[in-house]
Symmetry: C2
Amino acid sequence: MTHLFDSINTRNQEKLLKMLETYSLHFSKNTSIFSTFSSENVIGYIAHGFLQVIKMDKNGTKTIIEEIYENDILNTVFFSIDKNDYDVIAKEETELLFIDYESILTLKDTNKDFYIQFIKNLLKITNEKTKEKNERIEILTQKTIRNRLLQYFTIMSNKHSSKFIYLPFNFIDLADYLAVDRCAMSRELKYLKEEGFIEIKGKRITLLYDKYSSSDKLINL
Amino acid sequence: MTHLFDSINTRNQEKLLKMLETYSLHFSKNTSIFSTFSSENVIGYIAHGFLQVIKMDKNGTKTIIEEIYENDILNTVFFSIDKNDYDVIAKEETELLFIDYESILTLKDTNKDFYIQFIKNLLKITNEKTKEKNERIEILTQKTIRNRLLQYFTIMSNKHSSKFIYLPFNFIDLADYLAVDRCAMSRELKYLKEEGFIEIKGKRITLLYDKYSSSDKLINL
DNA sequence: AAATGAATGTTGCACTTGCAACATTTTGTA
DNA sequence: TACAAAATGTTGCAAGTGCAACATTCATTT
């Protein structure tokens, strides 16, 4: 994964941050950080901690839009027009470095290698995020819980070239990510276990089917 | 919407393209352009025409991942690991300018304003795409067809600050976009009409409910 | 104007899923 | 260790949806 300051040494990092409009803030566990930036477009570099971007439905259902870990960035430019529905929560003690987006794009003195490197890093990170969004869309376009699970397993398995998957979240959040009812998902996982397709031990899931042959039969009964 | 060559004059555009590894190709209507780039990461600038990025399920179900119109870009960096499942189709006669992605990021002689402008444009476009993906994810996390439709209507309505929505695609593709069965969607649209929430005339949909008050009742029965 | 194909509309039915309500297990903490 | 709280597992049932099969309307071409 690309890092915002990849290939930029500490000295140039400091120079760069002086050129841009920045400020650091600290957030306690389980606090909303949304009010601190809702009016402006910023990049929030997570120096330390862990964030969740969530969306509240009119009926109170929570949806995880994105999870952002240390060294990654929160880009508020991504939020759609109706910002009111969003919230960003620090799930741990979190240290955020905010960088004003406009100040990045309107910088005049741009003939510095480290500035170009910075923009390139930003571009790479954004690309990686889009890739992740595409993956999630692929999953969410599946029409059954079984197919969503299998699609998710396939993507995770491919990513690490292994038939062992270590869930990055608990089953509540997995159900959120797949946008299905947790209980119904639990039931489906039971069926998959019973039918001998997977094995679950805590957060480790083992795929017992052959990716490229029997998965055809697997998906759709 | 941001354009790849915004704020770059024709002369500099030519200079820029000479610095990068590029090639132009023409595609006939309904042909796959996938084979031309599947092995490399490129940006495909759509000089003229219209593309669809689709994904074929194991069971043959087509999903539209992205639609790309004139002046927008096709970024193959976005594709997930399993590229085999993807296809890109020219839906009209299409003229594509391919730019090798690596050549953009590894360019040495970067102290040119137009180069920085180019990267900034690319960044902006990528941001816009991520925003669109987020919107689609918001829609796809809705659990009923009704709520997906209403979420879609709300987003479209907000975008143009109007209660009139002009569908950018036909109902077949709308069902694809919402990832629901077309017939079931048709049924749900009928109910929404019968209950007096919307009006449909061709591709124009009129929202008859008040966005901020009755939509609570509307969503969830 | 007729004909062909594409898009849209309709509906019964079986299957999947969300929901609710609860049991059990695990985790965190006083 | 004991307790509370969170996470996970289970299941009946009603509601929603995909699927299939078909009817109707619209669009394009000869």
